[in-house]
């Protein structure tokens, strides 16, 4: 018994001694740039959505046509590895005798047990870091507990009521006669591994006479979502890679001071990446270094078709994010209103 106590004490001491190593803090001033929105900022790029930006974006609403940019979230859609999203329906009210009162009120509700980065979802500023350093030089080892982050959570985001821009890479690549499609796509798509460059983005903007402005939300249509839409048949292929922006295109978008970059892919950036020994470097550039959000698994084909039909690639972005305290991201519903 005495030995067991000694062992337990030694284990506890060991754990305590190891703890600083586990939560070793880097000098975040050397790894991550400071935020342009101030040393205490936890919001990121939505600081750019000022009343003037929202008012200007409202001018995009001309016909009132609403186009979704959201994919369904249901069993069978592509999720990575052990990712899950499950619902459990509580419907006891439908059982005999379950109705309430003379008016026979019945009800149903759900238990939603899900990871947050599933389906069409937003990456918050606490999602990606460089070592233990996150957006605005925050050493996040200090700001987490068992359940959530205590800094950089979604509750700090401001409005996404801004102008959205769809950049149709499929049509750009078709026009340039360089579309290398994947045979499993039923509609034209850009194949995985294809790097989207700043010149490609600029060609897409020029196609509809759009100039990006500060506070815009940019969505990129690659056609890769066609594999998502075939769920579950092409889930493995969908997850095996994707076309996307490279580091140069990310830099260019950062320079335009956009607030988010979305795409019809699961990571927005090209996979396999440009350097085989880097992991998701565009995520770090956008989120960690600049507080710019990423939207993954967006549905972009409908708004791309709408843009082609109307010659208008801009819209009012309708998207809200739950004030979910301490979350790193969440699934969202997105609409383009024109």
């Amino acid at each position: 018994m005495k030995n067991k106590l000694l062992l337990a004490a030694a284990a506890l001491l060991g754990t305590l001694l190891l703890a600083p190593a586990v939560f070793a803090q880097s000098d975040c001033t050397k790894l991550v740039p400071p935020s342009p929105f101030g040393k205490d900022d936890e919001t990121g790029a939505t600081n750019r959505v000022t009343p003037a930006v929202t008012k200007a974006a409202a001018a995009e609403i001309q016909t009132g046509k609403v186009t979704t940019l959201t994919n369904v979230l249901v069993d069978g859609v592509p999720l990575f590895g052990t990712r899950f999203s499950k619902t459990i329906l509580t419907a006891t009210g439908l059982a005999p005798g379950g109705a309430l009162g003379e008016n026979n009120l019945t009800y149903m509700e759900d238990t939603w047990l899900s990871q947050s980065h599933v389906g069409t979802h937003l990456d918050g500023v606490g999602h990606i870091g460089r070592a233990d350093c996150y957006y605005n030089q925050n050493p996040m080892g200090k700001f987490i507990n068992q359940n959530r982050m205590t800094k950089l959570g979604l509750e700090h985001l401001k409005s996404f009521a801004t102008r959205g821009v769809i950049i149709d890479m499929v049509r750009v690549f078709e026009a340039a006669n360089k579309l290398r499609a994947n045979p499993q796509c039923r509609k034209p798509c850009i194949d995985k591994g294809q790097v989207i460059t700043p010149e490609d983005l600029q060609a897409g903007l020029k196609m509809y006479n759009v100039t990006l402005r500060e506070g815009d939300a940019v969505f990129i249509h690659t056609g890769w979502e066609d594999l998502f839409l075939q769920y579950p048949a092409q889930n493995t292929l969908y997850n095996s890679g994707e076309p996307g922006i490279g580091e140069a295109a990310a830099k260019w978008l950062i320079d335009q001071k956009v607030i988010l970059v979305g795409a019809d892919t699961w990571a927005v950036e090209v996979i396999p990446g440009e350097s085989p020994s880097k992991a998701f470097s565009v995520h770090q550039m956008l989120i960690t270094d600049n507080g710019i959000h990423i939207i993954e698994n967006a549905r972009t084909d409908l708004i791309a078709d709408e843009a082609a039909a109307t010659k208008r690639a801009t819209f009012f972005l309708n998207m809200t994010v739950p004030k979910a305290v301490g979350l790193t991201g969440n699934f969202v519903g997105i609409e383009a209103i024109q």
Partner: protein, 344 residues
């Protein structure tokens, strides 16, 4: 033969962790990429038969070609791919085609020394520069593995483990694999492993188990070896990853897991994977008896070789021999060297 053209991406200053030096040297070149013309570079693969393992390791010709396709995306090059198919006639026909097409440079990956000599002659006559991969081509710079270094890394890792973990306990060494594979210089790896172990763990007796190119034989050989060494700790230097996994299965079946450490050569996808794959070498599997595998990076050849090719095309000096930057891949560094892409 196939052609894949890619739009060059503007320069980012990116560099490979492992290929830092080469990439850094290539930066000035890449920085001028937008201004200079695109080069047409041929790559004649050893073989694209998916059933053939290359260089005595677990990689295929597909792995090598894919690395060229991916690396070319960010460089001012248009790749023209050939399959030498381990066939001399095809190899020479490929070279002739490259000459007829007036390619700017030819990368030859062929283990037929006679064919390589003839290719060298024809290319010299045509004035087409050649870069050789793994197997020498007369007069051409050579990129390829440093077999002695790779072997030494494995031997040192095993000795280090034994000295740190089993201090003072008797240990027996098995070097297991295709010992006599001269064409791929496997004996060079074996001798380097043996020498490193002798230097750092002189008391451990060494045994060589020859699978004659059939990794499946390793299981029976390792069972017998383990049974013959009931009182010894077992240090296993496997000459490829498949053999390492076979050896691991053997000691598991023999109940000798606590007594065994294995280090392998190659680090192909059978031992490392993404964050959801849970392969043998994985940060969440730090207790594995397969403590590491020496990376040969055949799946990065394109990233290493194309910058060299561009330096040749720019008349810059290229060393006559550029070795692979081998590194021991363990659970502690596998995600740094092979970052997973399935975590998003």
């Amino acid at each position: 033969m196939s052609i894949a053209g890619f739009t060059p991406a503007p320069v980012l200053g990116r560099r490979s962790l492992l290929g830092g030096a080469a990439a850094l040297l290539a930066l000035p070149l890449a920085a001028q990429g937008a201004a200079e013309r695109r080069y047409r570079i041929g790559f004649a693969n050893l073989t694209e038969d998916p059933g053939t393992r290359l260089e005595g390791l677990g990689f295929t010709g597909g792995d090598v070609q894919a690395s060229f396709v991916l690396a070319a995306r960010s460089l001012p090059v248009e790749m023209v791919f050939y399959d030498n198919d381990r066939n001399r006639e095809k190899t020479l026909a490929n070279a002739d085609d490259a000459i007829a097409r007036k390619l700017d440079l030819y990368i030859q990956y062929c283990d037929d020394a006679g064919a390589n000599g003839e290719v060298a002659k024809r290319m010299k006559t045509a004035g087409l520069p050649v870069l050789a991969v793994t197997y020498p081509v007369p007069g051409a710079p050579l990129y390829g593995p440093d077999n002695a270094l790779a072997g030494r890394l494995a031997g040192e890792a095993l000795a280090r483990f034994a000295n740190a973990t089993w201090q003072g306990r008797a240990a027996a060494v098995a070097i297991v694999g295709d010992l006599a594979n001269l064409g791929d210089h496997v004996p060079d790896r074996v001798e380097a492993i043996a020498a490193a172990l002798k230097e750092h763990l002189p008391s451990a007796a060494q045994t060589r188990l020859d699978t004659t190119g059939n990794p499946a034989q390793a299981e029976a050989q390792m069972r017998r070896f383990a049974a013959a060494q009931p009182d010894h700790k077992l240090l296993v230097a496997a000459l490829d990853d498949t053999t390492a996994l076979m050896a691991k299965a053997a000691v598991e079946a023999a109940g000798r897991v606590p007594d065994t450490a294995i280090v392998s050569q190659g680090c192909d996808r059978s031992v490392h994977g993404g964050s959801n794959d849970k392969k043998e070498i994985d940060p969440t599997n730090r207790g594995s008896i397969l403590i590491g595998s020496v990376a040969y990076l055949l799946d990065r050849y394109g990233y290493e070789v194309l910058p060299l090719a561009l330096r040749m095309l720019r008349d810059e000096t290229v060393p006559p021999r550029v070795p692979t930057r081998h590194v021991l891949v363990t659970a502690a560094n596998v995600f740094t060297i092979y970052p997973p892409i399935d975590m998003n």
